[in-house]
Symmetry: C2
Subunit: 381 residues, 2 copies
Amino acid sequence: MTDDDSSLSPDTARDVGVVAPADFVCAEPFRFELGGEIPAFTLRYETYGKLNADKSNAILIPHALTGDHHVAGRYAEDDRKRGWWDSLVGPGKPVDTDKFFVIGVNSLGGCRGSTGPGSLNPATGAPYALDFPQMTLGDMVRAQEKLISSLGIRRLYGVIGGSMGGMKAMLWATLFPDRVGRMILMACSASQNAQAIAFNEVGRNAIVRDPGWCSGRYAAGEGPRNGLSVARMMAHITYLSDRSLDRKFGREKHPDASGADPFGIEFQVESYLRHQGRAFLDRFDANTYLYITKAVDRFDLADGRPLHEAFACVQARTLVVGFSSDWLYPPARNREIALALLRAGKDASYAEIETDAGHDGFLLPSETLHRLVRRFLENAR
Amino acid sequence: MTDDDSSLSPDTARDVGVVAPADFVCAEPFRFELGGEIPAFTLRYETYGKLNADKSNAILIPHALTGDHHVAGRYAEDDRKRGWWDSLVGPGKPVDTDKFFVIGVNSLGGCRGSTGPGSLNPATGAPYALDFPQMTLGDMVRAQEKLISSLGIRRLYGVIGGSMGGMKAMLWATLFPDRVGRMILMACSASQNAQAIAFNEVGRNAIVRDPGWCSGRYAAGEGPRNGLSVARMMAHITYLSDRSLDRKFGREKHPDASGADPFGIEFQVESYLRHQGRAFLDRFDANTYLYITKAVDRFDLADGRPLHEAFACVQARTLVVGFSSDWLYPPARNREIALALLRAGKDASYAEIETDAGHDGFLLPSETLHRLVRRFLENAR
């Protein structure tokens, strides 16, 4: 399919406006899959649209590696920054909040309001740091289930996720098969592959070898800033593509390149990457980065079985969308999910978006993607 | 072309045996392209085979980013480690040292015996460190020309290089057109692209943000060991491929994975990468890494012109070889070189090796590659 990027939203599309996050507090102990327990936890979340009377129109949107609960809208009238999937979610948009009640949630282990390694450990009064139990994506999904139940929602109309968000959607549909009606998976994979583990391992090494890490016991706002920044710079390259970088930056020199500092900025692409690394420090915590990259590296839905057997219990109808230039979770890995679902006798389809945007393609407005999502959600509702 | 890997060398192929490096000392000042000068320099090199009477059988093999002069053979009878292109170079091998006089040379700026930022600055008695002038690949080639002339060689039979070695071969053929008879370029590009600059920039950031770097003034054997190791781990991923990593490691757990250290080694691929990072510290210098990555990032043969115009002066016959799974310098960038040479009216051909070995494909034994190289060198000699 060709992504023509034209007329991305009908004229009737509006944004969800000013939103505010809420906190769900689960006051019961939570046991982790790999062992360990915390006495209680908080998940920060946002909702858009209205839950209908029979609570059948809820759509959950779990985030990717470094995303959060702020999926759509803005925090103030003059807030120029919108939620990370504002192009997709809103009144009249493909995930239409005039029809659906949409929930964004910051993952367990996160650093944007949910309980994670930076939260206070009630047993010590100090941050958990490395005393926070090791995590799996299944832990994140089981924590989300507590939130969904607390909202009185028995069955989700759908779960939609890209990248690690797609992996969480698959876990929803396999851990809680009778509670997910549809899932849309974008730019993801049924297991973390060796190359993706390898990149994550380099990022973790950059962080834990930074003297500022202090075995995870750094003060809030301090910590391994150099290591986290280097990890982000590297990861950011894997979200793009050779072609998009060539198109955006090519070999263009940075206007401030003076040559005075021999290893200062010479090319535009260097300035862009350094900015990405710096900006990340303001919104992300190094220990959370370590915990979440380990959780995604452990993700392997098949776990030794043929993949279609792992999908045997699925009840959800599924749309899988791959992105042609995604080399982190390439189209073949997305197609494999749809094929395994079909082999398991499930209702599944696969579409591929032709784009040079790389892995980040799922985050960008695209007429083709929007049409696919809208039709899949509204078809034979 | 399919790489069948069978019968890699005829039975008559032997290795070059025990070799020893030599030093070429140029006692004249050397001016760098971007400014700056050093009063003299040394290049460490090795030769294999015999220079014939009319000195017409010399083949130069410039190395890639972190290679050196030790192309073939071993340093002692019981030395298990061979030169980095021992599969290609030797008596009866594709670059046949019974016929050719082969020269390997450590680049100017290197850290394996040639003058570089780790060498003593005669003006101060201390290492140059950041007082070493900034470099281009053209500087390295112009320094090599002094070595070749000192050996009494007016015209090289050929220059063969992969990756950055191929870039240096192209510079030989354009800076000294009447002195290169043939060139073989493998897994390279006519200019450094934005993605490759981006990865190098992350590596440099890992190094210069390591407190051990000390603005380049670290003691020999010390320095930014964490940063250099992280830079190498990351770069190493870019030399392989998604498929080869899956095939070699997949999601295999490391036997020592205990879970005691939450961010210790869990997967085999992590152990492999950490080993690569560690081993690199024993053979490479951080400042040289900074200088050489900058030099390759500056490489742009066309420099604003159409590429075929940059090749107008070339006299060499050219074979370009791309590797199907190379995503650092993908096949299309290699093919582009051959097409531009043809457009400039030169004798050029392009071949593509089907392999999942990624960029490192050019370093690995391959029946197809060996046949291509042998035929190209011996054809109508």
